[in-house]
Amino acid sequence: MSQRLRVAMFTHDAYGVGHIRRATRIARALAAHDPAAAILLISGSPATRLFADLPPNADYVKIPTIVTSGVGDTRPPMLPIGLAGLAGMRAAMVRDTLEVFAPDVVLIDNFPLGTRFELLPALLTLRAMGTPVVLGLRDIVDPPERVRADWQRDGVYEVLDRYYDRIVVYGVPEILDAAEAYGLPPAVAAKVLYCGFVTEVPSAPPAAAPDVPGSGDLLATAGAGRDGLPLLDAFIRAMAELPGRRATVIGGESMSVDDRATLQAMCAAEPRITWLDDVPDLPARIAVAELVVAMAGYNTALEIVAAGTRAVLVPRTWRSGEHATRAGTRRTDGEQLLRAAWLARLGLVQMLHPAELSPGRLAAAVREALAAPRPEPGGGLALDGADRVARQLLGLARGDRDDAT
């Protein structure tokens, strides 16, 4: 027997937990297609709690965390040995893990070279081993001009040409055409495959789920909550202009202690608002809410669309983790703005530009969204990305095996 497939996935540590949830969704889709496959996830993310969603036959390796931006107590613990030291450790650990695990296929998430070129030794080893390597890109990696500048500077185009066999995009070309937006040379563009969005389609009809608390209320969430203060603050104030409405406000697991205390105190003063530090079942709560107020991170936005819940999205336009120092001073058009604008054009959400964020504007946007009919669940978008990515990976893994025999 011993012919069980082995799949390795590398997931970066960047802020938020979205990438880990995408990775575990893809892992579950892999296991659904091939329950015997051994799946090893490698990540430096401190959000190890989320690995509980891995399927049987899967496990994870956590390498030292390396996160270079962020403020105050929202920064995860890092070993104080310098970035170069950390990247060196990670490079060796990832390479050696892949060498021994000897996967049939490898999926690398969003950053082709990892942090500080840490993946280069692994990519060389995988090439020598003849292992197919797949890059998974979020629908929108970052604003295109920034991606082009970063990739030019770091030699990523050559890396994609030499070391990557396929590029799967967790999105659709209508939201962003990766080849055009990132300026991919033809040989690299030919490797791109759009798989649709990697999200969770709620299994139960969202309308009747009275056992999920918050059913029929407004729900305000800022994902993991690291930079949720401006939005949640505005929402809590906006509730004064939304008489007769009840709301749940979720802080998120990565919210700083200070932000949490501020918001919690505001909620305590308004009996119509329930404050929750964090919830384990956000997609279910999104599905039963009357309307969701959120930023436009990939997972939250797509969970809203999948459930067909009304929403007002206020995309984040500052860099993750920096609201305390940078908000309002160094804004660039971000990935979230592109996503929210596209979903708004399709009529699936209302968008409020963050430059216009105020309690009054937010309340008006909420009223407007509530007056419109509930969107169709799924909104006609391709939401089976996890399944399609899994099939791509398994196809490559098996193809490699066939060649070898």
Partner: protein
């Protein structure tokens, strides 16, 4: 003035974590103590924790998690979840450990419990470190290992024997007045280095204040709380089932509440069976982030006889009803017996009926007074010893530079 290093010392703390969180928790306690005393230090925990721990890491520390293993029986292991054979898993862990050590270049390696690591996975790297001679090698042992005979047999195994001589210090996380671990296991003959009893290693504290803790868990005046918990929970079901059954037959008019903490590793079927049989006054949780509050608020702790929970309960002066886990080694039975003889806990008989447990719960107040107050400041002692060893080495280097 002493010459100052640009950065603090680097420590690497290994725990194999075959089936519980206990080893990692002890290493986390030690990591916290080291960083309190030496904030510039870097502490990397190298662990194979099964499941998904929500560990709180102090600033200056981080965790590397190896692919997890599960103990099948004494000296036999298999992958906890990853779908590969045991040999590949062992190779994966061994190479990952080697890559970590070679790139991190620790000044000190503290190994918990297994001198050569799980399945001998540390043997090669310990040889390498010993030959290079710039890393202090320390073995940390809890008060009671497996039965002395089994322990010694596994240590005489070829792969392990060579490693024993490489250690420069053995720290016993226990108190000689409770058990003379060094003597019982003949450690001084086995190891070619000093063996030191450090006292029991508990958490940092500070513990919450009792009145506030009682308020937080919703206890009214005159009511008492029984807390039942057994670490990760992999073996907690029999204890929690009995606790629940005993509570259910307390006489009418009792003024007690019970909190059952199942733990992240309890089997889901067992967990659901407990959930289906709850009675008023009992709360069941799988995981909690307020264990300290619950322990402080509790008037009695029902637990196994695993190291950490016992040390915490006794440190808080809580009466303990202990149901030691019978296997796979005699560790818990031995510890419960020792502690009971010293008046530190009461053992729940193996065939205890629900009525018998109810009786024990009602008579908690009449527990005997302890004959010995064991040393519980091991956390601080271990940290000081490790830092002293590191500072010695710095002096060595400074001396070498002068010469």
């Amino acid at each position: 003035m002493k010459p100052r290093r640009r950065s603090g010392p680097r420590l690497l703390l290994y725990s194999h974590d075959g089936q519980s969180l206990g080893h990692l928790r002890r290493n986390l306690n030690i990591a916290g103590a080291v960083l309190e005393r030496r904030p510039a230090a870097a502490v990397l925990l190298l662990a194979g924790v099964p499941g998904v721990p929500g560990v709180q890491l102090p600033a200056g520390a981080d965790l590397v998690k190896l692919p997890s293993i599960r103990k099948v029986d004494t000296d036999r292991w298999q992958p906890a979840s990853l779908g590969v054979d045991a040999r590949r898993l062992n190779a994966l862990r061994r190479d990952l450990i080697a890559a970590t050590v070679r790139t991190y270049r620790p000044d000190l390696l503290l190994v918990d419990y297994l001198p050569a690591g799980m399945g001998g996975e540390l043997a090669v790297i310990i040889d390498e470190l010993a030959a290079r001679g710039r890393t202090r090698l320390v073995l940390g042992l809890r008060d009671i290992l497996r039965d002395p005979e089994v322990t010694l047999r596994s240590w005489r195994h070829n792969a392990v024997r060579g490693v024993l001589g490489k250690y420069q210090r053995v720290l016993v996380y226990g108190d000689r007045s409770v058990i003379d671990t060094a003597a019982v296991y003949g450690l001084e003959d086995l190891f070619d280095c000093p063996v030191e009893h450090t006292g029991y290693v508990g958490p940092a504290g500070p513990w919450p204040e009792r009145a506030g803790a009682r308020r937080d868990v919703g206890l009214d005046d005159g009511w008492t709380l029984a807390l039942a918990t057994a670490g990760g929970g992999a073996h907690a079901y029999p204890l929690l089932r009995l606790a629940l059954a005993g509570f259910a037959v307390l006489p009418v008019g009792h003024r007690m509440r019970m909190h059952l903490l199942a733990g992240p590793l309890m089997d889901q079927v067992d967990y659901e069976r407990l959930a289906a049989n709850l009675v008023p006054g009992v709360r069941l949780e799988r995981i909690t982030d307020r264990l300290p509050t619950l322990m402080v608020a509790a008037d009695v702790v029902l637990t196994g006889a695993a190291y950490n929970t016992l040390v915490e309960s006794i440190g808080l002066g809580r009466p303990v009803l202990s149901m030691p886990r019978p296997g796979p080694s005699a560790e818990q039975t031995l510890r419960a017996g020792l502690f009971e003889r010293l008046g530190l806990l009461r053992t729940i008989p193996a065939d205890c009926s629900p009525a018998g447990l109810a009786e024990l719960l009602l008579n908690v107040g009449s527990s005997p007074t302890p004959q010995v107050q064991p040393q519980l400041d091991g956390r601080a002692r271990v940290a000081s010893t490790l830092l002293e060893m590191l500072d010695d080495r710095r002096d060595d280097r400074a001396a070498a530079a002068v010469a």
